[in-house]
Every structure is written in C-alpha cells, then in structure tokens.
C-alpha cells in the first residue's frame, strides 16, 4: 500500500511540476528576475558599478578545446566529425567562429553545387566518393530527433567532360584511374556523344568522359543548414565574430642538422565581436583554419610566412580569394531534361537549373584576366566576350539566349597547385588547415572534415590517406597538381 501511495503521489506531483515548468512559470521569467536582482544589488552597494551580472550571452566562452575558424561547410564538417568521432559524448568542447551568419560572401552558398569523381588525383576521387556516400545517407548522418528530413535536391545527372585531341590521352589515363578507385565513368567517342546528346556540336572534341553514377549537383544551402542543425544538437558552440589575433608562445629548438627552429603554439584566440570593439580571448588547445578564401590572411595572423624567404618559417599559405562569375540564362530551345553538367574543352561549363529551360554556367578566367577580388561585382562583359562564344559554338541552341541574373563568389584558390591543404602546420603546431580547395571544397567537405578530425584525435589519417596534401609540400616544393579545375 505504501508503495502504491508513493507511486501515485510521486507520479502526480512530478508530473504536475513538470507541466508547470513547461508552461514557463519559473524559467521563462528568468530575465525579469535577473533585473530585479540587479536592482537589489545596486541598492545594497550604491557606489559600485554593477558589472557583476553583466550580460555575456553574446560572447564566446572563455575556454574551448577546439576553435574552428570559419563556419562554412568545411568548418562545420570538421566540427561534425570531431563530435562524431570523440570517444565519450561531450568530451571535446568545440567552438565555431563565423564572421557572417548570413553567409553573404561565403563560398558555400554561392557555389554551383556540383559533385564529381572526375579528378586527376586519386585522393580527390576518394574524397569525392566518400562525400557522395555521405550525401546519399545524409538523413542518417545528420538526423536530428524531431527534425524534418533534409532534402538535398540532388540531381544525379553526371558530369560530361569534353577533351580536345591534345587532352584526350590525359583524359583517358584519368578515367582509368577513376575507375580503379571505384567511380562509374564511361568514355564516349564523338559519334556516341552525338547520338546520346544530339544538341551538342562535337566539332573539336576527340573524347568525352561521362559520369554515370554519383555525379551531379545539389543544393549547398540545405547541406549547410543540415550540418548546422546537427552540429548544434551535438553541442558545438557557435559565435558570430572575427578572429583578430593569436596569442602564441615560441620555443627555440635545434633540429638534427643543427639549425635553429622556432616552434610556436597558440594559446589564445581573440574573437572580436561584430560592429564593436569588444573582444573575447578564448583559451584553446587547437585551432582549425577553415576560413576558406581568407585562410591565407588567417595563417599570416598566426605568424605563418613571416620569416626569411626560402625557410620553412618563411613559407606562406598560398591561398588567396579569386573571384568567379556564375551566370543564369534562359534559352527556350536549349537542351532538355537529360542535360548533364557539361564542361567544354575551353573550360566553359553549364548545367540545367530547374525545369523551365534555365541554365547556370560560367568559366574560370585565365591568370591574366583574373578579376579584382576586392568586391563581388559581376563583370557582364566577361560573359559576352569569354563565355558566350564558346557556349554557342558547343551548343548551337545557345546562339539565342538571355542572361537573367549573375552572381560572383570566391574560390579559396591555392596558387601553388590548386589542391587543398589538410593537416597540421609543421611549426605552429596546434594550427590545423582545411582550406585551399580551389573550388571543390563544397563537394569534398564531408571527407575533409573526417580527415582533419582523424588527424586531430588520432594523429594520423585513417579513412583516406591525405599525406600528399600536408602543408610541408609548399616548403619542399612538391606540387600535387590537379588538372581538372572547373
């Protein structure tokens, strides 16, 4: 009987209390109580300015194990994999610092959103395959209790790469390697191409490679939102601010050749709040540089590249912002539903957008024509002079088209070899890089995030061996060249 009474009594009281808190009697009134409490303190201690209860909600925490600079897809993916791979839930405190929460200039939202396996480096193919697997099972990876399922809007239509006679041999060896890695790529002769896609003019095309599976394009924004939602539910902290300063200490050491080497370690990151002079020093153990196009500047802040040229200390992170234009045009007679993402021999690319004969495309300018990356203004003459002629030559239907809109975005362009930088810096020992992907950061983000998290937690790459992408290649001048930059 006692048990019964206890059961009922406990049960009811707990239930009722629970429902009361839910209706917000004690919790929702918190702010009001705080101000009351402040007034009381002021009346007790009149002379003192009451900074005891100063509101610091908008500031980042004072300590964090890992600070990820850059809240784009790459940064969030690093955060996701750190939380996913940690041994005990909540073991690592992760803070993501993002300058602009509207992502107005971030490369993530402005990209065309393509994913392909047609790269010339095996590591890039592996990264792509890993990412495609991630995207396919995105509702398992990024499932949040009570959250609606994500719709990535993936268009599995493949990439069609065209090669002239000069590039045919390279294309063939690349496809061979891609097939070995497990990608489903088919080679096509101009005749087959003409039969498959009658709207293409095969003049000047010697060989084409066409991705049959796992290639296409998706909505980058929904991937970003999904990652953000998941990462937040895993307990990662977010902060809107800019990293302005690193507090470092340095140790002088001698290497085996007897040369003196300065090893640096970052202790604090100063995060400056938006539109104010206020900043918060965040003590941290590890900094991840995922600042995309601005990661070169961030590395300079940490003192990377500020030594005599030719030494490891003087080796800069060769990542700089490059402006790329994307145009959206309408062409009533344009290619139909089956249109893949076509990349011409001239470097012009386009894809279908929606069902009403709209197309999105652009072209990477040559070194000489490189536009000024200070702002995101669109150069419409570039389309008229450099893009349209090639488009119309490849697809005759594009003779008659109307540009509806255009935008510009940044590539985190690696001037050294157009490939990503992943892993720790050899001298600033607790700065890890995840940047410099020169336009394929979005599609490689899930794989890169995992690689960085593995290095951070375990000390070595496990899933995909990314040792060729380490920072030291800049000093050793070993270029890891990627030919297929679109």
């Amino acid at each position: 009987m006692l048990r019964r009474v206890l059961q009922l009594g406990l049960g009811r009281s707990l239930l009722i209390r629970g429902l009361e808190t839910r209706s917000g009697n004690s919790i929702l009134d918190w702010d009001g109580k705080v101000s009351e409490f402040k007034k009381k303190i002021q009346s007790i201690m009149p002379g003192e300015p009451s900074n005891l209860m100063c509101d610091t909600k908008h500031l980042p925490p004072e300590h964090s194990d890992v600070v990820i600079v850059g809240g784009g897809v790459v940064g969030l993916s690093v955060a996701f994999w750190l939380k996913k791979l940690e041994k005990r839930q909540g073991a690592i405190r992760v803070l993501v610092v993002e300058r602009d929460h509207t992502y107005s200039k971030a490369s993530t939202g402005l990209s065309v959103g393509g994913i392909r396996q047609q790269f010339s480096l095996p590591q890039n193919v592996q990264l792509s395959l890993f990412s495609v697997d991630f995207l396919r099972n995105i509702n398992e990876y990024l499932a949040v209790v009570d959250g609606p399922p994500l719709d990535l809007q993936f268009n599995p239509l493949g990439y069609l790469l065209l090669a002239s006679e000069k590039g045919a041999a390279v294309l063939e060896t690349n496809v061979k390697m891609q097939r070995q890695e497990g990608a489903k790529i088919s080679l096509m002769s101009p005749e087959q191409l003409q039969k498959k896609f009658p709207w293409i003019n095969t003049e000047g095309v010697a060989l084409a490679s066409y991705g049959l599976e796992n290639e296409g394009w998706f909505d980058p924004w929904s991937l970003l939102q999904g990652l953000r939602r998941k990462v937040q539910s895993m307990g990662v902290l977010f902060c809107e601010g800019e990293v302005t300063r690193f507090i470092t200490s340095s140790n002088s050491m001698r290497n085996s050749d007897g040369e003196e080497v300065n090893l640096k370690r970052i202790h604090e990151v100063h995060v400056k709040m938006d539109n104010s002079l206020e900043y918060q020093p965040v003590e941290c153990a590890i900094v991840v540089n995922a600042a995309g196009a601005w990661s070169g500047q961030l590395a300079e802040l940490a003192g990377i590249g500020k030594g005599p040229p030719g030494t490891l200390e003087g080796t800069k992170l060769p990542v700089e912002p490059r402006k790329r234009f994307v145009y959206l045009w309408h062409c009533p007679q344009g290619p139909g539903l089956e249109t893949p993402l076509v990349t011409d021999t001239s470097g012009v690319y386009f894809r279908r957008e929606g069902l009403s004969n709209n197309y999105v495309g652009g072209r990477s300018p040559t070194e000489e024509e490189e536009p000024d990356p200070a702002d995101l203004e669109v150069d419409h003459d570039f389309f008229q002079n450099k893009v349209w002629p090639h488009l119309a030559q490849r697809v005759p239907a594009f003779e008659a088209l109307k540009v509806h809109s255009a935008w510009a975005g940044y590539y985190d362009y690696n001037t050294f070899d157009q490939n990503g930088v992943v892993g720790p810096h050899p001298l600033v020992v607790n700065m890890y890089f995840a940047s410099g992907f020169s336009g394929h950061g979005l599609q490689h983000a899930p794989g890169v995030g995992r690689a960085v998290a593995e290095v951070l937690l375990g000390g070595c790459f496990q899933t995909i061996d990314m040792t060729p992408f380490l920072f030291s290649r800049f000093y050793l001048e070993e270029k890891v060249l990627e030919q297929n930059i679109i």
């Binding site: 009474v5 009922l8 049960g11 499932a143 399922p149 599995p156 539903l337 089956e338």
Partner: protein, 337 residues
Amino acid sequence: MRESVRDGTRWWGERPAPSGYEAQQDGGTQGVQAGFELTVILLPQPSKCREHRLAPPHPARDSERRILQEPGSWEFLRLIPPKWNGGKRGFRDLSGVVTPEGNRRKRRTLLQFLSDHFCDMEFLRENVLQKQMQKVSLENRSFTIIQDKYGRDIAGACFILQHGGSVKFRDREWIRSDEYRRFSAEVLKFQAVPVEAIDASGCAINYHGLDNLLPLKKLQCLSLQRCPHVDDWCLSRLYLLADSLQELSLAGCPQISERGLACLHHLSNLRRLDISDLPGVEYPGLTQILVEEMLPNCEVVGTDWTQEGPEEQPQDPASPIHAKPAARDLGDPCGVS
C-alpha cells in the same frame, strides 16, 4: 550503455503494462540511467489498481481516477507506442508522409519536453531513431551466399520474395510469398531460367537493396510502386538495366522527384513508364511532358488530366498488383489505399 538501452526498448515495446517497482527490482533495467527510471516509476498499473481498491471512489476525484486508470491516458509516457515492433512506424516516420493526428502531436510534444530536460531521454530517443534506420539497412543486405550458390537470378528473386513482393521467371507463373513472407523452396530450382518481371510494390527496398536487382540482365518489367525508400539515388542506378528493361512503374513513391526522373534517359529500351501520383514532383504535368520528350519511344503514364478515375491506370491481367490485398505486412506507406 547500449545494452541497457536495448533492454529498455524491448521492455517497453513488448510488455503492455508492467509495474515499475518490480521491473527495477528484478534487475532487468539496472543499467538504465536516472531519467529513464523516473519514467518507470511514473507508470501506474491499471490492472492492480482495480484489484486492490485502495480508497472508496470519491465523486470529485472519480474522473481523475478514471483517467489514471485508463491505460490510454498514460500511453504518452511510453517511449514508443506498443504497436511499434511491427516495423510499420519505422519507415513511416522516415518517409515523413503520415499526417500527424492530434493524439500523436500531444505525445510528440511531451517527448520533446522530456528530451529537452533529461539528457538520458535524449540519448534514448536518438538510439531509437538509429535503430529504425538500421532496421531498413539490415533488411537490404545483399544475398551473397545465395548468389554464390544459385546465381544472381535466384538471389534477386529470393530478395524480392522475402520483402513481400512477387517475381515472374520466364514462361512461368508469378510467384509470391505469403503474408509471413515465406515462399516455397521450388524457387531455387529455376536456376537456368532468368527473371523476367518483378513486382516490388510496397517493399522497403533502398539504394543498397537494389544491388540484388541490378545484375538481373533479362529483367523486362520492374514495378517499384509505393516503395517508401526508393529515391532519386536509386533511379540513378537503374542505367545498369538499360539493355533489357521495357516497363517501369514508379507510381506512388514518396521520395522520387523530377531530378531522379531526369536520369531515366539511360533506359533507351523503355516502352512504358508509370510516373503517376508522385508527391515529390512539384510540377507533374510539366515533368511528364519533359520526360516524354526525353524518352520519345516510351509511353509515359502520368497525371490523369481527364479525371476519369482509375480506369486510365494500366491494368495488366498477368500482373498481380491489383489482385493482392492492400493491407500487406508492410502496410501502406504512402497513405494511398
């Protein structure tokens, strides 16, 4: 932790109204965290209430008592409704096509509240979610042993039969499994006969499950009607059947959109394509026209513009699609009955 949570799940799912105290004392849930135990205590025991008759019925408290005694009123404290182990909710929840009823919403908000306040509850719910997803992927494993022993056609046929679909070998009758998904072993004798047609309507096949179907080189007719897990990614793999496939039905698949339909252009031998009733396609009419343009040799069955009812639907007398009862073991995932 995982062990104990699994114990808890089974316990909640199978025993309808256990007494909280006993369950704690018999050691079955010793590893379960504090928040979980709390909810265990909260559960009253309706049958015992009636036996003991603790207090005389009080008029004012009568209604309250009745609510307390009614098992239904306490149901929202369960982690999962008791019918859950049928696996029906599993993919209903994932495909997200079930409209929430009022009762369901109430339970969900309470669960939300609990998981906001008790981290154990949160972990538990995350685990349940993971379990639901694992179940689907477990069901879609490849039949590698059968494939090695009897060949690809038999493996594909067994896979479909085990999912509750039906299979037609060349020049044979349709074979289907019964409601417990059993089927006669004579399927294994058809080793030299290729599979000609598959009706997988309503089956929980996903991307990985297609591995069993794609090696069927003589497959001419494939019906994936109302498959809750067939999505655009699956359609992008159908190009492997391009040489033989002549009829494809995708009617009623909740996850298919026009983006996936676009990659059916690989299927050049297709004679008939059913894309009616796809809730994921935003502009069904326009999509149908574009698909017709893309596949000029193919008859595309899509939205019924004339509104003449189901007479327009393709009725193949040999196909068992319409002969079957609607309430299959898998249920009706997209709410179309």
